[in-house]
């Protein structure tokens, strides 16, 4: 039903989002092309800040770390999440209990997630840290970059695999029983059931899950900030943390703004690339 008066119903959302997104975004774009000394002294500098940001070795390093981190996180959490979802019973009293347990990590404030892992992984007071040390491995996430990365990955898997699992479970729960019975009659083995019955029907929810994990892992800030503070050295400093230091730590308005624009565009680009490739793949299947 075509009705342009429906705009009136959308107007409140547009106003709120304009206030929280468009105005700040325009401010950022505006700053990114100026050199700002104080409120009255501003010089238009064109794309200089962008050039400077792209040549900044610390930006490049943070970007590479970010891409590596997001890649690893997706590579672990998506298969693991699907696997967990398949292990949850489809119906019965235990189902709700499992879903609630799975949902718990998602509801914990992100800095508390960092705190939990801090006290869990510290070699002196942490259960995990003490256990790993007790079996004779040298482990110290504040001293070794590799240990810090392993701890961060463990933490992120602990925190976010549930999201993939819950979404995948929802997708699996909507598959009609008849599909399984048909596969059984055809003598399909477990792998074939997964590959040809379940996976195609999970396409939509998995697209959402991967998109959410992709964008959120690219934005990660709070958990490493609490757990490692970006260290040791800069080994776990990701884009958001570097940007935050620049923007509210040093008040480098111009460079921080150029950084922000590039950062946002990067996430949009990666999400768009993923989304279009999934949609194209879907068209090929049919």
């Amino acid at each position: 039903m075509r009705n342009d008066k429906a705009w009136l119903a959308v107007l409140p959302v547009v106003i709120v989002v304009a206030f929280t997104a468009i105005v700040p975004l325009m401010t950022v774009v505006n700053y990114s092309v100026q050199d700002i000394f104080d409120v009255d002294t501003r010089i238009f500098v064109g794309l200089d800040w962008y050039r400077e940001t792209l040549r900044d070795p610390r930006f490049i390093d943070a970007l590479l770390r970010q891409v590596l981190f997001s890649g690893l996180v997706l590579a672990i959490e998506v298969p693991l999440g699907i696997w967990i979802a398949r292990a949850v019973p489809r119906e019965g009293p235990a189902t709700a209990a499992f879903l609630i347990v799975l949902a718990i990590p998602l509801l914990i404030p992100w800095n508390v997630v960092g705190t939990i892992w801090q006290i869990f992984a510290r070699p002196d007071i942490g259960l995990l840290g003490a256990a790993v040390t007790a079996i004779g491995l040298s482990y110290n996430y504040t001293g070794s970059a590799l240990d810090a990365w392993i701890t961060l990955l463990l933490m992120d898997v602990w925190h976010w695999t549930s999201l993939v699992a819950l979404l995948a479970f929802a997708g699996l729960a909507s598959i009609p029983r008849a599909c399984y019975q048909a596969a059984e009659l055809d003598g399909a083995n477990a792998w074939q059931v997964f590959r040809y019955v379940e996976l195609p029907r999970l396409r939509a929810v998995l697209t959402i899950a991967v998109m959410l994990r992709l964008m959120d892992s690219l934005m990660i800030y709070t958990e490493p900030f609490v757990l490692t503070g970006g260290g040791p050295g800069n080994s776990t400093t990701f884009l958001s943390q570097y940007l935050t230091t620049m923007a509210v730590g040093q008040f480098d308005l111009g460079p921080a703004a150029a950084f922000s624009v590039l950062y946002f565009l990067l996430i949009l680009l990666l999400c768009w690339l993923f989304y279009t490739s999934v949609m194209k793949g879907g068209a090929d299947d049919r």
Partner: protein, 269 residues
Amino acid sequence: MTADARKAHWTLYLYCGWLLLPLYWLLTMAVKRNQDITGTLEVIPARPTLDNFVEIFTNPVWYEAFANSLTYVVVNTLVSVAVALPAAYAFSRYRFLGDRHLFFWLLTNRMAPPAVFLLPFFQLYSAIGLFDTPFAVALAHCLFTVPLAVWILEGFMSAVPRELDEMSRIDGHSRAWFFFRIFIPVIRSGIGVTVFFCFMFSWVELLIARTLTASDAKPIVVVMTRTVSAAGLDWGVLAAAGVLTILPGIAVVWFVRRHLVKGFAMGRV
């Protein structure tokens, strides 16, 4: 796996154990004295105490921070659902100028890293005099909760057949009467799921909440990170605060547990 869909695989118990283990450790920390925490490693606390919780409930810095957090989360959830309901209805029922583009543009806001908005938010809310109030944080969190709310509600509303709208019109009811008396009760599980997600994403966020508050409106998540750096490490109190921050989330998931399974089942988050 198809043999018995009612039975959980033993590996699932293992995974749930791994999910709960760090939480168990947090809980034991919260009931330990500091000398016991830094002393020997006790898997089961030998001398449990509630002192850490008493400290939080008697120290205004802590309990006011809790009140601040709950204030902005509730305001944010109310605002998000209130503005998203009519918009989601419009998206699900009508075609209008630029509707697809508008919907997609709303979703792109979910892709914006909060770090990008820190500086403009700080200046914007200072300029309009909301800085260091819970309302600044509530409004700023609308950046990601409003698009999410529209997205989820639109999914639930599209699942309701249009005949319902038409029948009500034929019966001579006004659109407002239909919307509030019939439509909203029909999609209440969708509203439940929306409340859950708005609450969740506003409650867990730290970066924006920290940037937009200074002293009066400091939320609990900020007090936790700041007291740690200022007064040395009081692990017990920190862990107790951590335990308390998990409770609202568990309460919300408990209330919407039935709707949640249904909401996830629609494949929309």
